[in-house]
């Protein structure tokens, strides 16, 4: 059993607050992604769990044991560092086998595990090389292999695929998911790439400014963002936000009206794929400014009134820049936010 409990962990560097009372639970064998923009405190949280940074408050419990007083090596973890930290004075093979050698495992076992981890990360041909002679992506894979080789109960990864090209990243993602699922490794995975988080994680914790804004399954977070920030951070193109005013339970956008959860100023969150382009006479009036063919669809950029908006249309739709079209939203897939607090409004 190796579950992780992060209980009201806070961290300040001098006067600067990096984490404000963050709480998160990762079940045994679960894969949780910490997703958030640069500087939101992801690495700081991961380093506190690893024991490389001391929290200013709160506690971390791993496998039922409060690890606050334990040094990193006693916490039963492996870690992939954001800047790799691959030892320059050891060959790739020695790097990957480092953890096992520290555990004084038999030589044959070390060799076997090193071979296995290297194979999975497609770096078997690099085993005799020195890290200084590797590309950034290759070095990053050495760091991942080094962590996987020890077959840890808890794996902490800080943007482990950030330096790979798109195709390799896609392959590694699938491999990583399969291997970790099979081994039942409890994983905390830091990334600022939302597709990576969506694809890999059982649950995603979206962080912003030292706070976890929402925790949930990828689909749930995507469909029902708890805050305006989460809605805007997940999805590509990002969610559109339209400020409108509602009265009598109806929000008006141009000539178009939608059922709103409360009266007064409200903010509609609309994903591009949740609105169908229709004739100019119906739906939300949308002035198209730019049309970008993306292959699978057309990406339309324009405005509703004076508020910017992005929409998508079928690849063969005849839409010209400068045209006015209508967008018919799917009422079941809309999000509403309080424009003041940015929090989600639930339909009454």
């Amino acid at each position: 059993m190796a579950d992780i409990l992060i209980d009201r962990v806070a961290k300040s560097f001098g006067a600067a607050r990096a984490l404000a009372e963050v709480s998160l639970q990762v079940a045994d064998g679960e894969f949780v992604a910490l997703l958030g923009p640069s500087g939101c405190g992801k690495t700081t949280l991961l380093r506190i769990v690893a024991g490389l940074e001391t929290a200013s408050g709160g506690r971390v419990v791993i496998g039922g044991r409060d690890v606050g007083a334990l040094p990193p090596r006693a916490r039963g973890i492996a870690m992939v560092f954001q800047n790799y930290a691959v030892f320059p004075h050891m060959t790739v093979a020695d790097n990957i086998g480092f953890g096992l050698r520290m555990q004084k495992r038999p030589v044959e076992e070390v060799a076997r595990q090193v071979g296995r981890a290297a194979e999975m990360l497609r770096i078997s041909h690099l085993l005799d090389r020195w890290p200084a002679r590797l590309s950034g992506g290759q070095r990053q894979r050495v760091a991942v292999a080094r962590a996987l080789a020890v077959q840890p109960a808890v794996l902490l990864m800080d943007e482990p695929l950030s330096n790979l090209d798109a195709l390799l990243r896609l392959e590694m993602r699938a491999d990583l998911k399969a291997v970790l699922r099979e081994a039942g490794t409890t994983t905390l995975y830091v990334t600022h790439d939302q597709t990576e988080a969506m694809g890999l994680a059982d649950r995603i914790a979206v962080m912003h400014g030292g706070v976890i804004e929402q925790i949930g399954a990828p689909g749930a977070i995507y469909a029902r963002p708890a805050t305006r920030f989460v809605g805007g951070f997940l999805g590509s193109p990002p969610m559109n936000f339209l400020l409108c005013s509602a009265s009598g339970g109806r929000a008006a956008i141009g000539d178009f009206a939608l059922a709103a959860p409360q009266d007064g100023a409200v903010m509609l969150g609309l994903r591009a794929e949740d609105a169908v382009p229709v004739g100019a006479a119906e739906g939300i009036p949308f002035d198209v400014r730019v049309v970008e063919p993306m292959g699978a669809h057309l990406l339309l950029t324009g405005a509703v009134g004076d508020q910017p908006l992005r929409a998508i249309a079928p690849p063969d739709a005849a839409i010209a820049p400068g045209a006015r079209i209508g967008l018919r939203p799917d009422p079941a897939r809309l999000s509403w936010f309080d424009p003041e607090t940015g929090r989600r409004l639930e339909a009454a």
């Binding site: 690893a50 490389l52 040094p71 990193p72 090596r73 973890i77 492996a78 870690m79 560092f81 800047n83 930290a85 030892f87 320059p88 004075h89 480092f98 953890g99 520290m102 555990q103 020195w130 200084a132 002679r133 080094r146 020890v150």
Partner: protein, 282 residues
């Protein structure tokens, strides 16, 4: 713009010229002096040096002192540098205090230790006060060679460990802290971390410190002179005596040439044995 291959050479030319004029030239002159005999080139000066009553002692003492002092200094400086690396607040103050001996000339350092170790010095006063001695006891004589040696070694260690410390502290600052952290996460104990990560990555700095300290240790003189005079002959001391008292520049030059040869050999060995291939640098 294509880089011009001669630019680097042009840039180091002033330094090379400077060294050539003020270092290489006197060096060659010393060699020539040491090889000048009655009628033309000869090894007479070297023969006289080898036959000198004090030569064997001086050679042995110099080597013994170097073999004891340099390893102790490296070990001590490593320990101190490791401690400094862990200090948060007050780190600069500790470092500053530790490198104070650097600011003291070696003769002054020798005299300071003389004040401690001479027969009416601080050490004896303390031992007398504790009832361990009956009266003034001389330590720095030919009859007490072991204590004399220890006294000189102590003074040298006290005086010149700081320069090693400075080199190692600078070297440690160049090692990204993530390497130590990664080792720690993957199960290395503090000792293993030092042994498997810090030490190998510090090798270039250790090499520099070893070369500097060894060369200087073979040139040890002022501290020895202050504490033991000629009770403890060393190579540079003999060169001084031949030049000053015996007015024989030829033999003095032979001593100087020998010291130079030993230093160059030591440097060569360090450069080979502690070589760090470029691809393994941090």
């Amino acid at each position: 713009m294509a880089p011009k291959p001669w630019v680097p050479y042009l840039l180091i030319a002033p330094a090379v010229l400077f060294l050539g004029a003020l270092f290489l030239l006197p060096l060659v002159q010393t060699l020539v002096l040491s090889l000048q005999g009655e009628g033309g080139l000869s090894f007479a000066n070297y023969a006289r040096m080898l036959g000198d009553l004090n030569f064997a002692d001086a050679l042995r003492n110099t080597f013994l002192l170097t073999l004891v002092v340099v390893p102790v200094q490296i070990a001590l400086a490593l320990l101190m540098a490791t401690m400094i690396a862990r200090i948060g607040a007050g780190r600069d103050l500790v470092l500053w205090v530790w490198v104070i001996p650097l600011a003291i000339s070696d003769l002054a350092a020798g005299l300071a230790w003389l004040a401690i170790l001479q027969s009416t010095g601080y050490l004896n006063s303390v031992l007398f006060a504790l009832g361990l001695l009956d009266g003034p006891t001389p330590w720095l004589t030919q009859e007490t060679p072991v204590v004399l040696f220890i006294g000189i070694a102590l003074a040298e260690i006290w005086r010149a460990t700081a320069i090693v410390l400075v080199i190692l502290v600078a070297g440690m600052q160049l090692i990204p802290k993530e390497f130590g952290e990664a080792a720690e996460v993957f199960g290395a104990s503090p000792w293993q971390r030092f042994r498997r990560v810090t030490l190998p990555l510090l090798k270039p700095s250790i090499q520099s410190a070893l070369i500097l300290r060894t060369v200087l240790a073979f040139e040890v003189f002022a501290v020895v002179y202050a504490l033991g005079g000629r009770n403890f002959p060393v190579l540079v001391g003999e060169a001084y005596v031949w030049q000053g008292e015996n007015q024989n520049t030829g033999v003095a030059a032979a001593y100087a040439a020998l010291i130079m040869l030993i230093s160059m050999l030591a440097t060569f060995v360090y450069l080979r044995v502690l070589r760090t291939p470029r691809e393994q640098m941090a």
